[in-house]
């Protein structure tokens, strides 16, 4: 099963490689991993998407907790949570019909065209991974020039928080 794990780590150099090293050393999957400092500059927040059986996920959370620099972690999937991913995408827009089609699709998915040339649109789109996948499908492979996805970031719904 897919799990979204949120991690608060010391903002030290090498912290990210400890996490990625752990996953490769123990043969766990990483679907995506994103990291950035928080409002407290001594801490980084990481969102990691992985999959595995319950026992594998239990080991993953235990092994992550064992890393000296991990302050706190939460398996967001255990409760209700929100996930978002951002994508920047360049699509073909060289004929009038495709230009209109691309703009309409972008509007339907609540994307924003953030850069335009006479042959290319660059679109920004935010949503959960499903929405982004659907958008890509709707655009059609032949219209896509380049895709950049940030990977998933997540946060718990309601009053739950991962505050240190």
């Amino acid at each position: 099963m897919r799990h979204v794990i949120s991690i608060v780590m010391e903002n030290e150099p090498g912290a990210l490689s400890r996490v990625s090293g752990l996953f490769s050393a123990r043969g766990y999957n990483i679907e995506s991993l994103i990291v950035a400092p928080t409002e407290d500059h001594t801490l980084s927040r990481m969102t990691l998407v992985t999959s595995g059986s319950d026992s594998v996920i239990e080991q993953i959370t235990k092994q992550l907790n064992k890393l000296i620099e991990v302050v706190k972690l939460q398996d967001l999937t255990e409760n209700r949570f929100i996930e978002r991913e951002m994508m920047l995408i360049k699509v073909k827009a060289h004929e009038n019909t495709t230009r209109e089609e691309m703009m309409r699709l972008s509007e339907i998915f609540r994307g924003r065209i953030i850069d335009v040339t006479d042959t290319v649109y660059t679109i920004e789109l935010t949503g959960n991974s499903n929405k982004i996948d659907s958008f890509l499908e709707a655009l059609g492979e032949k219209n896509i020039i380049e895709v950049v996805r940030t990977g998933v970031s997540g946060i718990a719904r309601g009053n739950r928080s991962l505050k240190i």
């Binding site: 010391e10 090498g14 090293g21 092994q63 907790n65 064992k66 000296i68």
Partner: protein, 577 residues
């Protein structure tokens, strides 16, 4: 007063109470070596290879409970320590490794003797640091000792660029550190302890299985008290030997691949298993699908990730073994429930039948020296009171099987990583920590040459180690597997062109003896043990075809042990519980 980074490093070690550091100098570490030269309090032991430094520090740590300390230079100095660091990591040995690094301004430039120390060691350390700011140096070293020695212990590397060791700052060594992201659990959860005791007291066929955590956590007294209070059988892992007195009747021997028949059968048939400070290693469990099929498993460990890693635990208890066992003892004493005497008596009768098989038994010979016989004689002559280090292979198993350890920290071997070359340098650390004790290294002609250069260190520091080389001219354990599982195709397991070990020992300034008759074994050992001034290298020419029995082969369960051929009939008549 302001001190240089090099002086601060040495002052930190002094203030941490470090007696010995094991090391080897080189360019990036020269400022530190200079600071070392200008003081008398911390004694430096110059090894002959950085791997030897880590194993010596490891032996020191295992035999004393204090952290071992290593000092090496950058680049090859670091890469040579990796085997020793990984050895300590697998067995959870507290160690602090200080490494010189090229100056900060050339890090990343492929400078002379540069290696990414933090990157190279990351997968085999508990934690590592690169010091980038001299004002953080003392605090970082304090953190390194704190992390290495608390929770589940392990090696910690502190990498210090050369320019940092030359800069100056005020020296303040903190008394303690608090790391917000590192707060190991100490006390077990009272409810879990209660549940565990309840399960233990209602058991019909209990087994208490303990590992290196008892030794590392200084919990042997509590373990002994609990086992005796309950009257239950106790088995130790290879790493746990000495955690429970081996000569006690409640001890059913080591378990696992080359453990006793009785301990493995008891594991298979038990209904309640109390595991303390053990990690269900594959050499202990055999095939997981066949492991303890009837047992409710209670697992006590300081490391939450050890619990339910390989075998799901019904009653997990996270915390320090010593504290949890103490509470279990109190709880057993206070409980109205008492062990089921009739069931336990019955259980012991079954175990005693298995025990009567004498699964370690071997055929003594007048012609050729049996390796088991040498270990037995060593045990007799030292009355079980020696420190015994070993390398890896058949000799290691014979040592574990035939030397009966009644005390913790006496049996020192590389259990997790299985590092050949460990025994001799580890013995140096043990002998330095215990100058008046008898220290023996049980080794083989394959392992000993992997760190043979340390004989030179032994001469320099007058370490009268008894090297017991069980020389069968084969990589014995490899040969045994080839005999059993590869139709006797002995691919590269024969040791051709061996050195003359007597001359080799003599050239290093030690005493060399070659013993090839069973009748001479005792005298040689007596002579070596009695001479407390010199290192004896005893080259015992042993039986080439001796195998380690019994054995659980890959994919087999505890109840499917491979016995010495003449004991097989008894095995077939085993009564299922």
């Amino acid at each position: 007063m302001e001190l240089t980074g090099a002086e601060i490093t040495i002052r930190c070690l002094r203030d941490e109470g470090v007696e010995y550091i094991f090391g080897y100098p080189g360019g990036a570490a020269l400022h530190i070596y200079d600071a070392l030269h200008r003081q008398q309090e911390v004694m430096h032991i110059l090894v002959r290879h950085e791997q030897g430094a880590t194993h010596a520090a490891d032996g020191y740590a295992r035999s004393t409970g204090k952290p071992g300390v290593v000092l090496v230079t950058s680049g090859p100095g670091v890469t040579n320590t990796v085997t020793g660091i990984a050895t300590a990591y697998m067995d959870s040995i507290p160690m602090v490794v200080i490494t010189g690094q090229v100056p900060s301004n050339v890090i990343g430039q492929d400078a002379f003797q540069e290696v990414d120390t933090v990157g190279v060691t990351r997968p085999c350390v508990k934690h590592n640091f690169l010091v980038k700011d001299i004002t953080k140096l003392a605090e970082t070293i304090k953190k390194a000792f704190h992390i290495a020695t608390t929770g589940k212990p392990g090696p910690v590397v502190v990498d210090i660029p050369k320019d940092i060791t030359a800069q100056k700052t005020e020296y303040i060594y903190p008394d303690s550190v608090n790391i917000r992201s590192y707060q190991p659990t100490r006390r077990g959860h009272p409810k879990q302890i209660k549940k565990a005791v309840q399960a233990l007291l209602t058991a019909q066929r209990p087994v208490i299985y303990t590992g290196g955590g008892i030794i590392l956590g200084d919990a042997h007294e509590e373990l002994t008290e609990l086992v005796r209070l309950l009257g239950y059988p106790c088995t130790n892992t290879l790493m746990g030997l000495g955690g429970y007195p081996a000569t006690d009747p409640l001890f059913i021997g080591m378990l696992g691949m080359h453990g006793t028949y009785e301990s493995n059968m008891a594991m298979h048939d038990c209904d309640v298993l109390l595991a303390v400070g053990a990690r269900f290693d594959d050499r202990v469990t055999g095939e997981l699908a066949k492991f303890c099929p009837y047992a409710k498993i209670i697992h006590v460990d300081v490391d939450p990730s050890s619990i339910s890693k390989n075998v799901p635990a019904s009653i997990p208890v996270v915390g320090e073994a010593k504290l949890i066992l103490k509470e279990m003892i109190e709880s057993v004493k206070a409980s109205e429930l008492k062990p089921d005497d009739a069931a336990i008596k019955n259980w012991w009768q079954t175990i005693d039948k298995w025990r009567a098989l004498d699964s370690f038994g071997y055929d003594q010979s007048d012609e050729v020296i049996k390796p088991q016989y040498v270990v037995e004689k060593l045990y007799e002559l030292t009355q079980g009171d020696a420190f015994v280090t070993s390398d890896v292979g058949q000799h290691q198993m014979f040592a574990a099987q035939f030397y009966k350890f009644d005390y913790p920290r006496r049996w020192i071997n590389s259990g997790g990583l299985g590092t050949m070359g460990f025994g001799l340098p580890a013995a140096m650390g043990v002998q330095l920590a215990h100058p008046d004790a008898t220290v023996a290294t049980i080794t083989g002609e394959g392992s000993i040459v992997m760190c043979i250069q340390e004989l030179s260190t032994c001469l320099q520091y007058d370490l009268p180690i008894n090297v017991i080389n069980l020389n069968n001219r084969y990589l014995g354990m490899v040969r045994q597997w080839q005999e059993f599982f590869y139709e006797r195709r002995y691919s590269h397991s024969y040791m051709d062109a061996l050195p003359d070990f007597v001359k080799l020992a003599e050239s290093f300034g030690h005493v060399g003896l070659r013993i090839d008759k069973p009748g001479d074994v005792e005298d040689a050992l007596k002579q070596a043990i009695a001479d407390t001034g010199r290192l004896y290298f005893m080259d015992f020419v042993t039986d080439q075809t001796e195998n380690v029995y019994p054995m659980i082969a890959a994919g087999k369960g505890h109840h499917e042990m491979h016995l010495k051929p003449d004991k097989v009939d008894a095995h077939d008549q085993r009564e299922l519980a």
